[in-house]
Structure formats: structure tokens, C-alpha cells
């Protein structure tokens, strides 16, 4: 056991003395994380939570109850993460802001809008429309603002239809005379205007819930940093695997076998060395991003367990590549190729859902995808229970690959005198 441990420790020291390896293990993922942060605006924005803050301009020419209510809705606390409204009185200036791509939408509430809804004579009232002046280069954001506006207008229409229906049914049922209709309508209209309307109130209760979380905000770096660290973990495990073949080619492996150390202890030590190096790499990167970017990785025990499981799964891949290769150079080339492919498939650069369906299926064989899923869970405030699936998947992956690799090593008589 001690021999195995010592061989592992020796490999760890060798890895961290190799400047070329350090470039790949630590410097590259760290710099790429910074690069990703720069291009996504993580380091240039005060808000790292992903709030949309869609800029909109509201021109309230109505200056009446409904116009004011609409302004209030867009300024409500509930929509604070979605929209960033500015109030204006100049419709033409608001349209110009859209035309110059300075804002997403200009909502122009025309004069007399409220009156047109609560007109004394509904049948003769003019249909005054709210103008939704949208920026065609921002269709998604404009669509979100339109949804909010549609919701408001549906409520307004509901009140209008409700009022007319009420009066009509009261007349039909004989509860009021047709002469009283205007007075009743006016009274209802006045009631709507004078009482604060809850624009969220509906007949249907919407029970909302979110997956459990302890954190209030999630940093987008919590997706980027683990993605990069996991991608370059694949380099580290293939580097470790390459050292097995390099030691055999260099003659140090046969020399070890003339000492009172059996082949299982040697191979175990080499595998332990790969595991230690991978774990050290991940923990250093996690520590560095925590220190430099104040990144919250989540539950500490969960992070450590996930790191070990991810390194275990990745080590399995490293051994598998080594078992298939004939020369250290082959392990290096194939390992680098696998690192890059797993990086893409595992979601280090793009969300897995954005990849073709077949690629999404293959992402499940990468330790990157499972581990990234676990790290995201933890960043969202997940606990150990939320890691069950990723941990199981990574451990199973590691065990299966270890067994296959052991079989292949046995056939190749790799660790023989």
C-alpha cells in the first residue's frame, strides 16, 4: 500500500515539475476561463446573475388610470430582472431610440387610451391602440416585453368585457332597467378606476415552485470555470497514461520490477498518481477561481466528492486510451483529441442542448457532461442528494473503464519484466 502511495506521489511531483504540463493543466484552463468571462461580459458587467434588464421606453401620453397602471406594471419589483424601463413624453424620440438600436421597444400609450376603454358609450367609442414599436434586431427580447404587455391588455379587456356583460345580464334578467344601464356602467367604471387593480389576479391559481436553492444569485462563471477545468482534466489523465508507456519505453518500469514490488502495486501506483494529479489540478483551479473571481462553487463536501468522482471517471478514460495505444506519442495525440471532443460534447463551450441530437446522446459518455451537471447543481445551491445521479454515473463510468483497461493491459503484458 505504501509503495503504491509512494509511486503515486512521485508521479504527482513529476507532473507538477513539468512546465509544459503546467501550461496545459493550469494556465490554459485558467486563461480560457478568463477569456470566456471577457467575451460573455462577466467581467464587464456589475450583474453576473444573468438578469435580462431589457431596455424599454414607455411614453405615457394617456396620463390616466390605465396608462399609469401600465407604467406601474413595468416598474414593478417583479419585473425588475426582466426590464429596465425609461419614461418619456416624446413619442418620436422614443422611436428614434429604437431605430438607433439604443433600446428594445418603445411602448407609446396614446392620449385618451383610458377613456376609450371606459367610455360612457362603449359602442361609439374610438378604438385607441397602444403602439408597440419593436426593434427588429432584438426579436427575443421584444417578444418577452410583448408577452408582458399582452398580459396587461388581457386584464384590461377582461374588466371591460366583464363590465359590459354584467350590465347586459342585469338588464336581461330584469334586475335593472335599460334606463339604469348607463348609471350602473358608470358606477362600475368608477369603481375600477378608483380601486387599485391587482393585475395578477385570475380565477386560476398558479402554484409556482423552484428547485431547492440556497443561493440568491448564480454567477455565469459557475458554468464556464468547471467546463474549462473538466476539459483540461482530460489532458491530465492522458498525460498520466502516457507516463506509463513512457516509463516502459524508457526502461524505468522494468527496473521497478526488479525491486520487491509486484506489477499490481506498480500499476496501482501509476493509476493513483493520475488520480492525485487530476484531483490536485481540479482543486487548484477551483481554489484559484474562488480566490480571484469570488466564485461560489457551492457545498464544499459536495464539490470535493464531485471532484474525486470526476477525476475517477476521467482516469478511467485516461487508462482506456493508454491501454489502446502503442506509443506515448499516440496517447498524447489521442488524449488531446479526446480532450477537445469531450470539451465540446460535455458543454465546456456551448450548452449541450444546442448541439445536434446525436451529439447530445454521445455527451453522456463524457465525464465532462456529468460532472458539469453536478457542479451546476451545487452552484444553484444543490446539496449532496442532488449529486446522486452525476456521482453514480461518474463512478460507474470509472469502474467500467478500469475493468476494460485492466483486461487490455493484461493482454498486452504491459507491466511485465
Amino acid at each position: 500500500m505504501l509503495k503504491t502511495f509512494l509511486i503515486g506521489l512521485k508521479d504527482l511531483k513529476i507532473a507538477f515539475r513539468d512546465r509544459a504540463a503546467i501550461v496545459f493543466m493550469l494556465l490554459t484552463p485558467f486563461l480560457l476561463t478568463i477569456g470566456m468571462g471577457l467575451v460573455t461580459g462577466r467581467f464587464s458587467s456589475n450583474d453576473s446573475s444573468g438578469a435580462l434588464n431589457i431596455p424599454i421606453v414607455i411614453v405615457n401620453l394617456d396620463n390616466d388610470s390605465l396608462g399609469d397602471a401600465l407604467v406601474e406594471v413595468f416598474n414593478s419589483e417583479e419585473l425588475a430582472d426582466l426590464v429596465e424601463p425609461t419614461i418619456s413624453q416624446d413619442a418620436e424620440a422614443a422611436r428614434t431610440l429604437v431605430d438607433e438600436d439604443e433600446t428594445t421597444v418603445a411602448i407609446i400609450i396614446p392620449s385618451g387610451f383610458t377613456q376609450s376603454i371606459f367610455s360612457e358609450n362603449i359602442n361609439q367609442s374610438e378604438n385607441i391602440q397602444i403602439e408597440f414599436y419593436a426593434n427588429p434586431s432584438r426579436p427575443t427580447s421584444a417578444g418577452i416585453v410583448k408577452t408582458i404587455l399582452d398580459g396587461f391588455m388581457a386584464r384590461v379587456d377582461e374588466m371591460r368585457v366583464g363590465s359590459i356583460t354584467s350590465v347586459a345580464q342585469l338588464i336581461i334578467s330584469g334586475r335593472i332597467s335599460p334606463e339604469q344601464a348607463n348609471a350602473v356602467g358608470e358606477e362600475m367604471g368608477a369603481r375600477f378606476e378608483n380601486t387599485s387593480t391587482d393585475f395578477n389576479e385570475t380565477l386560476i391559481t398558479l402554484n409556482t415552485s423552484t428547485n431547492e436553492t440556497e443561493t440568491n444569485e448564480v454567477d455565469m462563471l459557475a458554468f464556464l470555470a468547471p467546463g474549462m477545468a473538466l476539459m483540461f482534466l482530460m489532458y491530465t489523465v492522458s498525460y498520466g497514461g502516457r507516463s506509463i508507456l513512457a516509463e516502459k519505453a524508457g526502461g524505468t518500469l522494468p527496473r521497478l520490477l526488479v525491486t520487491p514490488t509486484n506489477s499490481m502495486q506498480i500499476l496501482g501506483g501509476k493509476v493513483f498518481g493520475i488520480f492525485l494529479t487530476g484531483a490536485a489540478q481540479m482543486l487548484i483551479l477551483i481554489g484559484a477561481t474562488t480566490l480571484f473571481f469570488q466564485l461560489q462553487w457551492g457545498d464544499v463536501i459536495g464539490v470535493v466528492l464531485l471532484v474525486f468522482a470526476a477525476v475517477f471517471g476521467a482516469t478511467g478514460w485516461g487508462l482506456f486510451i493508454t491501454a489502446l495505444a502503442r506509443t506515448p506519442a499516440q496517447v498524447g495525440s489521442v488524449g488531446t483529441a479526446v480532450m477537445l471532443i469531450f470539451g465540446i460534447l460535455g458543454g465546456s463551450f456551448f450548452e449541450v442542448e444546442n448541439l445536434p441530437v446525436i451529439a447530445q446522446m454521445f455527451s453522456k459518455i463524457t465525464p465532462n457532461a456529468w460532472a458539469l451537471d453536478g457542479f451546476t447543481s451545487l452552484a444553484f445551491g444543490g446539496n449532496l442528494a442532488s449529486l446522486t445521479t452525476p456521482l453514480l454515473a461518474l463512478l460507474t463510468m470509472g469502474i467500467v473503464l478500469f475493468l476494460i483497461s485492466a483486461l487490455l493491459f493484461g493482454r498486452k503484458n504491459l507491466v511485465q519484466k
Partner: protein, 397 residues
């Protein structure tokens, strides 16, 4: 000339000594182009947020609700079984899910017991967007019921009903009136598309093909540094010193060989994009001007790197790192237009940015030879500066 050719040929033999070089030369770039270009949105598809919907009720009103969601401008409903929805939601493949319980029908709405379950991912803005869209759809689907309910309450305020049947009949009559009024309701919002100039030219196949082409050619050209370090480590550079070969001849041979190989690699990738995506790269002369200038710039940087880095291992690592970083920051992975403004300015210091700009000008903006001369000039500027540094610092030992 013969010497230059001999050096270039020798480098090609060293480079392709292992068949694994083909992996990086053509196989991986094609896999990456396929994976990324095959997955990124084209801009023509539905860009609304996906909302998982589980309809246990399957009643007229639940279908009306789904129909309202389909009309939403911000979400698109994806109706599926609860197992499938749970699986997708738990694996974070969707920001939100809506569950319509079996008890959801007209009666439950009328008596105020109708409930819907909405589940959103924590701290996910798409979840907030989806919730807004669901609330709007609920409002629209239930507005006539609300109106009828309001009419019933007004009637109750003016006297009681003789029986529950009378009350129900009153409600039903009010519902019909409300439906009729709703159908005749005028459109309250007029949508006008602004005159914003859409200067964000984006075509996923063109962007990804150009981006990957640059990435996968810049990395091996930066790898000239590893080639120089390898020869220095092996002592073969010292041996060249004993032959009547000048520094310039040696460097020219090394660089021209790598540049020619890079141009062959680029041609293969250009053809792949033409065959796979029917991509029009634009003016062919302009295309090869940009490609050649980009190759020269990358080769010059690789040469300069080779004069600073001592070992082959370090040179390989640093070449890949520099290549990936420059590709990322130069807009080869994500469109430059989506970068924060200050990063768009900083990106101009990278040759990858100019190479990308040139290729996109040709393929997306229909530029001609004259239009890409600026990009070509800047790339040649990079090449001149870095070649000068490289030649000045180059030592055989």
C-alpha cells in the same frame, strides 16, 4: 530554392511521420465544424423559450390554455408526458415546466378551485419569462370566465338567486355574452417594426466554418515554435550551421513549408463547407488573399514564439493555448458582435479577428478583393512585425 524546398519537404515528413497528425489536420476540424455548425441556431427557427407542458386534464379549457401558449411571443409549449418532462427538467434541459392537473376543467375554474403547477429552475431568468407567459395565457384563456363571474357577482349584489340552478343558468348566459363580446373585441395593440439597421450578419454555417478553419490552422502554425524547439533540442539546427545555409534560407524553408500545408488544409476545409453546407465563400481570389495573409501572420507569430520557448513540450502547450485564446477572443467561437463593446475593441489586436472579418466580409457581405485589402494589409502587418522579431532573435543554439 532547392534548399528551401528540401527544408519544407523535411518538415512535412517530420510532421506527418505519425498518422495521428491527420487527426488534427483534417479529422478534428471537420468533426468540430459539424458539431458546432449543426447545432447552432440559424436565426430562422423559433427563438422562443421552450416550456415543458404536461396536460393531465386534456379538457377543452386545458387545450385552450396550450393554444394560448402557442400564440405567446416569448415561449413555445412542448407538450409531453410527466416522466419525460420531469427527466428534462431535472437535467436542466428546460427552464420551466407547467403541469395541468387532471381536475382542471370549466367547473373547477368557475368554483375557484382550478390550480396549475408551475416549476422553474432557480435563479433562471428564462423561468421568469416562462412564468410571465403562463400568467398571460391563463389570463387570456380564463378572461371570459372571469367576465361571467364578475357578472354573477354584480347580480348577487343586487339580490339572491332562487336556486343554484338559476345561478348556474345566469352564469352560463353571462358566459355566452362574454364570449361574444370577447370575439368582437378590437385589437388594443398595434405592433410596428422599427427601422433599426440589422448590421449583425450571422450565418451559423459561415461563421462556424470560418471560425474553425482559422482556429485549426492557427494552432499548427503557432506550432512552428515547437518545430524550432525540437530541432534545437535534437541539435539538428547546429548541424545546419555547418552547411552553406543562411538563417534566412532556413527560416524561409521552415515557414513556407508550413504555410503551404496550412493552405492545403484550409482548401480541404473550404471544400468541406462547400459540400456539406453549400456555403458560398465569395470571391475566390479575395478568399485566398485573406487565407494566405492569415497563414503568414500565424506563421510569423509561431516563429517568434519559437525564439522564446526552449522545449518542444512547452512550445506545443503554449501554441495550443495561444491558438485557442486568440480564436476565442477573435470571434472564431462566438460572434464578435455579441461581445461587450470594450472587448470588441480589444479583439482588434488579434490576427484572428482580422482573418475572421475578412472571411465573413467575403462570404456574408459579398465583399470583393478591394474590400478585404484592409484586413489583408493588417494581417501582413502582423506577419512583417513578427517575422522581423523572429529573424532578429533566431539562434541556431
Amino acid at each position: 530554392m532547392k534548399k528551401i524546398f528540401a527544408i519544407a519537404w523535411k518538415d512535412s515528413i517530420i510532421r506527418f511521420a505519425s498518422s495521428s497528425e491527420l487527426l488534427f489536420f483534417i479529422i478534428l476540424p471537420i468533426i468540430f465544424i459539424f458539431l458546432i455548425a449543426g447545432g447552432v441556431p440559424t436565426g430562422d427557427e423559433d427563438n422562443r423559450r421552450r416550456l415543458l407542458v404536461v396536460d393531465h386534464a386534456n379538457t377543452a379549457i386545458s387545450q385552450e390554455l396550450v393554444s394560448e401558449l402557442e400564440n405567446s411571443t416569448s415561449v413555445r409549449p412542448d407538450v409531453m408526458s410527466i416522466e419525460e418532462a420531469e427527466e428534462q427538467f431535472e437535467s436542466r434541459r428546460a427552464a420551466a415546466m407547467l403541469i395541468i392537473p387532471a381536475s382542471f376543467d370549466i367547473e373547477s375554474i368557475q368554483n375557484g378551485t382550478a390550480q396549475l403547477d408551475f416549476r422553474g429552475q432557480p435563479n433562471d431568468i428564462d423561468s421568469s419569462v416562462a412564468q410571465r407567459a403562463v400568467e398571460t395565457a391563463i389570463r387570456k384563456a380564463s378572461s371570459v370566465m372571469s367576465a361571467a363571474n364578475m357578472a354573477l357577482e354584480e347580480a348577487k349584489a343586487r339580490g339572491t338567486f332562487e336556486s343554484s340552478e338559476d345561478e348556474q343558468a345566469y352564469f352560463n348566459a353571462a358566459l355566452e355574452t362574454a364570449k361574444s363580446l370577447q370575439a368582437d373585441s378590437p385589437e388594443r395593440i398595434t405592433t410596428i417594426q422599427g427601422n433599426t439597421p440589422d448590421d449583425f450578419d450571422y450565418d451559423p454555417q459561415a461563421n462556424v466554418s470560418a471560425g474553425q478553419l482559422i482556429t485549426w490552422v492557427f494552432i499548427p502554425l503557432f506550432g512552428i515554435s515547437a518545430l524550432l524547439a525540437y530541432e534545437r533540442q535534437q541539435g539538428t539546427l547546429r548541424r545546419v550551421l555547418t552547411t552553406p545555409t543562411s538563417k534566412a534560407t532556413f527560416l524561409l524553408g521552415t515557414i513556407s513549408g508550413q504555410v503551404v500545408m496550412a493552405l492545403i488544409q484550409m482548401t480541404l476545409l473550404v471544400l468541406f463547407a462547400v459540400l456539406a453546407f453549400k456555403l458560398n465563400w465569395g470571391n475566390p481570389i479575395g478568399l485566398y488573399i485573406v487565407l494566405t495573409c492569415a497563414c503568414l501572420a500565424a506563421a510569423a507569430i509561431g516563429t517568434t514564439m519559437g525564439t522564446f520557448i526552449k522545449s518542444e513540450g512547452q512550445a506545443t502547450g503554449l501554441s495550443i493555448m495561444a491558438g485557442m485564446l486568440m480564436a476565442m477572443l477573435g470571434g472564431c467561437m462566438y460572434p464578435l458582435e455579441l461581445f461587450p463593446p470594450f472587448m470588441q475593441s480589444i479583439a482588434r489586436i488579434f490576427p484572428t479577428t482580422w482573418a475572421m472579418q475578412g472571411l465573413l466580409d467575403l462570404s456574408l457581405r459579398g465583399a470583393g478583393v478591394v474590400d478585404i485589402l484592409l484586413e489583408a494589409g493588417v494581417l501582413l502587418g502582423f506577419a512583417g512585425i513578427f517575422f522581423a522579431i523572429g529573424v532578429m532573435r533566431f539562434r541556431y543554439e
